[in-house]
């Protein structure tokens, strides 16, 4: 098995010299592509490396680097080696490229990512709503989406919860600790 993975890594590196290829610690092979090469790379993998199945498209929000990362997870039924194709895109005003022409089921994943991350796909404009209805706030899977604030606004507190206590106040009340003003901004909320 490890021989197969190494052979795959070697031949991928030779055939797709513009991509970096590495073996993943927990199994499978990872391939990084540029946005320009992505569709060609995926088509090549499908036609020449036996990756006929698209398992999933995932998205990672690299907030600090101001980038989104799309992860295309492919499966080869013969070699049974999973392949992860990654591409980094601009987080603000960036877009992905649709691969609906390669795998029709990509449509669902692209719709989901567009809706949940606010990342549009060229070639899959104005996708229909998937899960959210009439959503006009920040796409909720973005890491800067404040889930707690949203939940506070959207839901009421159920009656019967008034007896909740704050751990910090219970502890300081018991010990007689007086928390000074300078410390309050640092207290856990």
């Amino acid at each position: 098995m490890s021989d197969n993975i190494q052979n795959l890594q070697k031949s991928l590196s030779e055939r797709l010299p513009q991509c970096s290829v590495k073996i993943r610690k927990h199994g499978g092979v990872e391939l990084n592509s540029s946005k320009e090469n992505l569709v060609g790379v995926l088509a090549h993998l499908r036609e020449h490396f036996g990756y006929r199945h698209l398992s999933h498209i995932s998205c990672v929000d690299w907030l600090e680097q101001n980038q989104f990362e799309l992860v295309y997870i492919l499966w080869n039924y013969e070699s049974r080696i999973q392949l992860f194709v990654k591409v980094r895109l601009a987080r603000e005003n960036g877009s992905g490229i649709s691969i609906r022409h390669l795998w029709p089921q990509a449509d669902t994943y692209e719709r989901e990512i567009a809706e949940m991350y606010g990342l549009p796909f060229d070639g899959n404009e104005n996708p229909r709503e998937l899960i959210l209805e009439d959503w006009d706030a920040m796409p909720p899977m973005r890491r800067d989406f404040d889930t707690r604030a949203y939940s506070k606004e959207a839901f009421y507190d159920r009656p019967g919860r008034e007896d909740a206590k704050d751990v910090r106040s219970v502890i300081s009340g018991r010990s007689g600790e007086e928390i000074p003003e300078i410390a309050i901004p640092y207290t856990r909320k």
């Binding site: 889930t147 707690r148 939940s151 506070k152 839901f155 507190d157 159920r158 009656p159 019967g160 919860r161 007896d163 909740a164 206590k165 704050d166 751990v167 910090r168 219970v170 502890i171 300081s172 018991r174 010990s175 007689g176 600790e177 928390i179 000074p180 300078i182 410390a183 309050i184 640092y186 207290t187 856990r188 909320k189």
Partner: protein
């Protein structure tokens, strides 16, 4: 009546169904097996849970409240437990399991159980573990320390190598760099469980959070709010806080002491402390307080009273301030310039210290009483107990506190090349490690087992790394004379541990005939200290209450003589710097109340 063979046989057709799968449903109902790590309803191990509230804090749906299971639980809980337990609003929960991921004790889990039926459409609130005690058998999504949002491993502290250490009195601990400190601080869950066991109740989660965010100056201000010797505590504190840190339940506690050390060291000199802390100093209120002893308790009283506008004077018998932290703790643990800096800062805000002024010699106690509205006594335990064996008075049989005091005062002490230290506390370890630095081969003789030693395990480890030999279950019998009044060696007997019939800890019992002599140049006794109260006039001594050598006080450190307050080793049993600071801090309030008649 016509006979019909058909009517007789037709019912038998039912038999053809015998080999087929039944259309009926299994009763009682059997639930389908759920997937591995399925996230169903919560279960909480109420005994293992310490109520840190991290689950409640992380919940993005605000579905978790911290509540008392029985009224009064939060008041009666033991230190290390808030007494609260999580209650989930299942109408808001989305089963993301973040609460399980951040549970430091691992008490909270999700079960494989997903059916919940109730006649009351509003009964969404339930307390995991209490509402479903049977959940213990159905755990499915459990927290795992190897894959967790919490970091259970402490950022290691860099130290000098053992061989390098014994060449000098350089500080052993090298301290955290900025990124190390921030990484360590980021591990803290901010629960504040630690603050209760800290005798001073320092604002630990707050200063750690300030460090995490790179706001070291805020961290310093928060530390100085109730501890004026934060840097000392950052180096030598006995840190009971770390013993109750929830992360310690399954991993390593936050390095609270080292983080405090990191922050306070950012103020490199007294001027910088003054500039950063920038304390409000109230105008003089005309009240005078005399303090006997410039140890941790006396310094704390002096600092906070001076800030409140009192005229404070400390009377210190020795040439430098600090008491036991100056003369008892070796400089490789607490360097001189660090202590000087802290004392200098206190002097800069108005604390007056009269050095080389021993009460009872240079000034009388009555005079201090006469000149001040209140008096605080914080003289510490400076007089060593003797071991109580023959030959102990020989030359070269010395006491650890005297030895450490002389070394810290830069005096030359000739201990020769072979030293034995008698005792198992921190003072014994300090004396042993100092002796190693003076070039001697050192053996510690201790009556009980290593796990019985009252010293910090880190100190014991440190001593071993430096080549100190620890001989346990060894009872000193007598000091061997060389014939000219000097120590030649010590005779000791090996002991076996016997269980105490009264239920106490196992005690050592001499093994008859198993006696040995260890040849030595110096014996250092370190079995404990007491206080010297000779400066207090006899009539006053009778009024102040004592119990087993300690002064009795009320919760404000006030003795039965209303204008006399006391604190530190002469009052509390824990006898460490942080307890002395705590006593001092309480005395500040006590003195204020007494002087202003509140």
């Amino acid at each position: 009546m016509e006979f019909s063979i058909k009517g007789m046989l037709n019912p038998l057709l039912a038999l053809q169904q015998a080999g087929k799968r039944p259309h009926t449903i299994q009763f009682p109902f059997e639930e389908k097996k759920v997937a591995e790590r399925y996230r169903g309803l919560h279960f909480n191990d109420i005994e293992a849970c310490i109520g840190c509230g991290t689950c409640s804090t992380i919940c993005q749906n605000e579905a978790i409240d911290m509540v008392e299971i029985h009224p009064g639980d939060s008041e009666s809980a033991k230190p290390g437990d808030s007494g609260l337990r999580p209650r989930v609003d299942n109408g808001r929960c989305c089963w993301c399991a973040l609460c399980v991921e951040v549970c430091p004790t691992g008490s909270l889990s999700l079960t494989s159980h997903y059916n919940y039926v109730s006649e009351d459409p509003d009964s969404f609130l339930w307390t995991p573990g209490v509402s479903n005690p049977e959940g213990r058998k159905e755990l499915s999504f459990v927290s795992d320390t190897s894959h967790s949002l919490l970091d259970y491993a402490r950022v290691p502290m860099r130290e000098l190598e053992g061989k390098e250490r014994i060449k000098s009195f350089a500080e052993v601990v090298l301290g955290y760099a900025d990124e190390e400190a921030q990484k360590e601080a980021a591990r803290c869950i901010g629960c504040s469980i630690c603050t209760e066991v800290c005798p001073v109740h320092m604002h630990i989660p707050e200063y750690i959070s300030a460090i995490e965010h790179g706001n070291n100056e805020d961290a310093i201000r928060i530390i100085y709010d109730n501890n004026p010797i934060g840097e000392t505590c950052g180096k030598v504190c006995t840190r009971r806080c770390e013993e109750v840190c929830p992360l310690g339940a399954r991993g390593e506690a936050i390095a609270i002491r080292w983080l405090k050390r990191y922050a306070t060291e950012k103020a490199e000199n007294a001027d910088m402390i003054r500039e950063i802390v920038n304390p409000e100093i109230k105008p003089p209120n005309g009240k005078k307080v005399g303090i006997i002893g410039a140890g941790p308790s006396g310094l704390t009283v002096a600092y906070y009273l001076a800030l409140r506008g009192f005229d404070v004077t400390i009377y210190e018998a020795k040439a430098k301030a600090g008491g036991m932290i100056m003369y008892g703790i070796p400089k490789y643990r607490l360097p001189l310039d660090s202590l000087d800096k802290q004392v200098e800062y206190m002097q800069s805000i108005g604390v007056k210290i009269h050095f080389n002024t021993k009460v009872g010699e240079q000034i009388s106690f009555s005079e201090i009483e006469k000149n001040h509205d209140a008096v605080f006594i914080g003289i510490g335990y400076e007089v060593p107990y003797t071991i109580g064996i023959d030959g102990e008075n020989l030359e070269n049989s010395i006491q650890a506190v005297n030895f450490l005091r002389d070394i810290n005062a830069d005096k030359h002490v000739d201990i020769g090349s072979r030293v034995a230290v008698i005792g198992g506390g921190n003072v014994a370890i300090d004396a042993a490690r100092v002796s190693r630095r003076l070039g001697a081969e050192v053996t510690i003789l201790y009556r009980r087992r290593e796990e019985d030693m009252p010293a910090d395990w880190e100190e014991i480890e440190g001593a071993k790394q430096e080549g100190v030999i620890i001989k346990t279950q060894a009872i000193p019998l007598n000091v061997v004379d060389d014939g000219s009044g000097r120590v030649k060696g010590i005779r000791y007997g090996n002991a076996r541990m016997v269980t105490d019939e009264k239920g106490g800890r196992p005690r050592p019992e001499l093994i008859e005939g198993d006696e040995h002599v260890l040849e030595l140049d110096t014996i250092i006794g370190a079995i404990g200290q007491e206080a010297d109260y000779s400066f207090i006039p006899e009539d006053l001594k009778e009024k102040i209450g004592f119990k087993s050598g300690r002064i009795l006080t009320n919760e404000w450190q006030q003795t039965s003589v209303p204008h006399i307050f006391a604190g530190g080793d002469i009052v509390n049993r824990t006898a460490d710097a942080i307890s002395a600071v705590a006593d001092g801090y309480k005395a500040v309030k006590g003195i204020e109340q007494f002087v202003f008649g509140k």
